[in-house]
């Protein structure tokens, strides 16, 4: 046994040969780095699927009337696109992939607190995905939208049960990851790493994990009640039996609004990691970023009502929710100032991760400011349920989480795979993706203000111009995604080898271990003496 240990001492986790070989060595591995990559590969497959569904919808909208699909198919498309993108990609997204891979590395631990539970989370995740997808084959594609609003979700003729139950299972995976990360950060920081010496990505994961733990059960019980409504007719959300469908909306958004912060907070953490490294400068206002992350997580619980301004609520409740919505924008804005100030007078190193990070700030600001338009009562009524909303949340969820995911991928890629991607192709992919993204979503703001509703396969002829631009943008963006993915996938196998520990000159712990890391991350346990990001 000790022999195995010595021979494996300097073997990278990618090549390590344990009890199981080949594929089994991956899907049964409790190594946090392998679990992280398992999530990454799973997400790659389903992100591509859902992106193609998105492209098909944009192609349908390229001209008024039926272009390539009818209304029922279109309803199914935006539902499945939404379910996959929300529950399978962006909610687990950054924590499951980069949190698993880098959290233990960044706090100097050998693994997460519960490695087996961690692997179980991935398995639960896969079971959840399969359950959701089985709805395609049992009783037709779901057509309720990803929100499963009552009473349609238990009246629709198609079989919505697998989708509801699958989303419920995916919630378990999310909770288990959250519990695991909180305990890891409380119990496993290396000597010298006090809370306020912890890098910012772990800090945002900490805030996220609390939301995962405290908000996900709410969606769990809500989905379960909808399942029971459909199967047994308990009547809780059914107006015909005395139930209240608005109550469903409340419960749904009590989870789903905090879930937005599950999506964006780790992204903010990634950006806070990348900017100091490529500006060669200490992060501006470390504590402000930490505290604003916690503030976002906290205030984020109390703003759910702004999704329901037109659903029927008392005037007083409307004012309260609108006020709180404005309040939650403040900590996000604090972060933007911190990032910009970090770059100020830095010696900028223009590399692919930096491009993604800066474009993140740009799209995040557009998404955030249009969020205020939606958060104020008068304008909300005007643009409610229009393409304005669609554009807003794609700027935040795709622009925010998506761009930071790409930034993280390009930043940590050499550490994860021990190889470097082709930088020219990476930058080309970014330019095409970024311009495609703006061309796709910016016209939607305009269309929304004109009054084009969301979730329709058809529209009035006056909206044609904007939709043509938007659909062409979608094609460009997909081309960009393709370039980025092909480059990364190719480079993970054939890219230029990286053996140095710290190719970007980062100051956080993950850059002090081997590239790629060995099984237990460290030969000797690291000790921390100074703040992260101390560039002298």
């Amino acid at each position: 046994m000790s022999e195995t240990n010595t021979t494996n001492q300097h073997v990278s986790f990618l090549k390590y040969q344990g009890k199981y070989k080949g594929l089994l060595g991956w899907i049964l591995s409790t190594d946090h780095k392998r679990v992280g990559l398992l999530y990454l590969y799973t997400m790659l497959v389903f992100f591509s699927t859902a992106a193609i569904l998105g492209l098909l919808m944009k192609l349908e909208l390229i001209a008024p009337g039926m272009t390539i699909m009818g209304p029922q198919t279109y309803n199914a498309m935006f539902t499945v696109h939404g379910i996959i993108m929300i529950f399978i990609i962006v909610v687990p997204g950054l924590p499951a992939v980069f949190g698993n891979f880098f959290l233990p590395l960044m706090i100097g631990a050998k693994d997460v607190a519960f490695p087996r539970l961690n692997l179980l989370s991935w398995w639960v995740y896969v079971i959840g995905i399969l359950t959701v997808l089985s709805s395609q084959f049992i009783g037709g594609w779901p057509d309720t939208g990803w929100t499963f609003y009552a009473p349609y979700s238990f009246r629709t003729p198609v079989n919505i049960l697998p989708a509801l139950f699958g989303a419920f299972i995916l919630g378990f995976s999310s909770i288990l990851t959250g519990i695991n990360f909180i305990v890891t950060m409380h119990r496993m920081r290396c000597p010298g790493m006090t809370w306020f010496k912890m890098p910012l990505f772990p800090w945002t994961l900490y805030a996220t994990a609390w939301i995962q733990v405290l908000a996900t059960p709410v969606i769990g019980i809500t989905l379960l009640l909808t399942v029971m409504e459909r199967v047994m007719g308990v009547g809780i959300f059914n107006p015909a039996m005395g139930g209240d469908p608005i109550l469903y909306q409340h419960l749904f958004w009590i989870y789903s609004h905090p879930a937005v912060y599950i999506m964006i907070l780790p992204g903010m953490g990634v950006i806070s990691e990348i900017l100091p490294v490529f500006s060669r400068k200490r992060i501006y206002g470390y504590k402000a970023i930490v505290l604003s992350s916690l503030a976002i997580a906290f205030v984020g619980y109390f703003v759910w009502g702004h999704h329901m301004f037109t659903s029927g609520m008392s005037g007083r409740a409307l004012y309260a929710f609108s006020f709180l919505t404005f309040l939650v924008a403040i900590p996000s804005a604090i972060k933007v100032f911190n990032w910009v100030s970090t770059m100020y007078k830095g010696s900028l190193n223009l590399q692919t991760p930096f491009y993604w990070a800066v474009s993140f700030i740009f799209v995040f600001m557009i998404g955030g400011l249009t969020g205020l338009v939606l958060g104020s009562l008068a304008t909300n009524v005007h643009v409610h349920d229009t393409h304005f909303v669609v554009a807003h949340f794609h700027f935040i969820v795709f622009g925010g989480t998506g761009f930071s995911f790409m930034a993280a991928l390009h930043y940590w890629f050499p550490k994860m795979f021990g190889r470097m991607y082709d930088r020219t192709w990476a930058n080309t992919g970014w330019v095409i993706f970024f311009s495609g993204f703006l061309t796709l979503y910016l016209p939607m703001f305009y269309l929304g203000i004109l009054g084009m509703p969301r979730r329709y396969y058809d529209y009035l002829p006056e909206f044609h111009g904007g939709n043509i631009i938007s659909s062409l943008g979608a094609i460009a963006m997909i081309a960009g995604i393709l370039i980025v993915f092909v480059n990364l996938i190719r480079s993970s196998r054939h890219g230029e080898k990286v053996t140095e520990k710290n190719p970007w000159g980062g100051r956080t712990l993950e850059w002090q271990t081997d590239t790629p890391p060995t099984l237990e991350n460290w030969e000797t346990e690291p000790t921390v003496t100074e703040q992260p990001y101390e560039y002298k």
Binding site: M1, K19, I182, R187, P217, L225, G235, I236, G242
Partner: protein
């Protein structure tokens, strides 16, 4: 030298961490039931009379019996943990077995209670229930959902008790390593606590 038994990183033990994880899990359970209590509050506020009449339909004797035995079971599982800490394996097993037995009795009582209601035609979506109006439908809808999800937790608890019982038998849980037993105990107290709230809300408030 650390032992590598499977394809895993290091094997590490941290009882405090394990208990912290369990507490976080308990938070998620509280949130889950919390939402059900919220729904109950909303509908009770909207249908006070129907909820009062519904409560009078329930069997207070069976409810009280289940409350008492569940409280006893919480005590026995706590005593079982103490016995394990002292290394008294046999005593721990007997006390754990008692808890397991009570959990099963609780479900048997529940079976008869539900059975009687269903015989009267009081179950979700039944014709009888729908005739009684919206408030009563909601009351019994919530009654079945909430006590049903609680019963599911009892069932999971039984599974956990069987598991830790076996672990004690084979000395995997012992005087120096009993965090599994402690965590199952914590879970059981949670199940008990939720019942403490369910019982008055459904059976006692008139």
């Amino acid at each position: 030298m650390e032992k590598i038994t499977e394809h895993t990183a290091h094997v590490h033990r941290d009882d405090e961490g394990d208990k912290l994880g369990m507490w976080l899990f308990i938070f998620t359970e509280l949130l889950l039931f919390g939402m059900l209590f919220l729904i109950y509050a909303v509908y009770r506020y909207k249908n006070p009379v129907a909820f009062q009449l519904g409560g009078e339909e329930l069997d207070v004797f069976l409810g009280t019996l289940n409350t008492v035995i569940l409280l006893i079971s919480s005590a026995t599982v706590a005593m079982s943990i103490t016995a394990m800490q002292k290394g008294e394996k046999t005593k721990a097993l007997i006390l754990l077995g008692t808890t397991l037995f009570i959990a099963v009795v609780f479900l048997i009582n529940k079976w008869f209670e539900w059975g009687a209601k269903i015989d009267y035609g009081l179950y979700p979506n039944s014709e009888n229930l729908l005739e009684l109006g919206h408030g009563t439908t909601l009351f019994f809808g919530l009654y079945y959902v909430m006590s049903g999800i609680h019963a599911l937790h009892i069932l999971i608890g039984i599974g956990l008790f069987v598991f830790v019982y076996r672990q004690i038998m084979v000395n995997k849980i012992n005087k120096t390593d009993y965090v599994w037993l402690e965590n199952v105990g914590l879970y059981w107290h949670l199940v008990d606590l939720i019942w403490i709230f369910l019982f008055p809300l459904f059976y006692l408030i008139h």
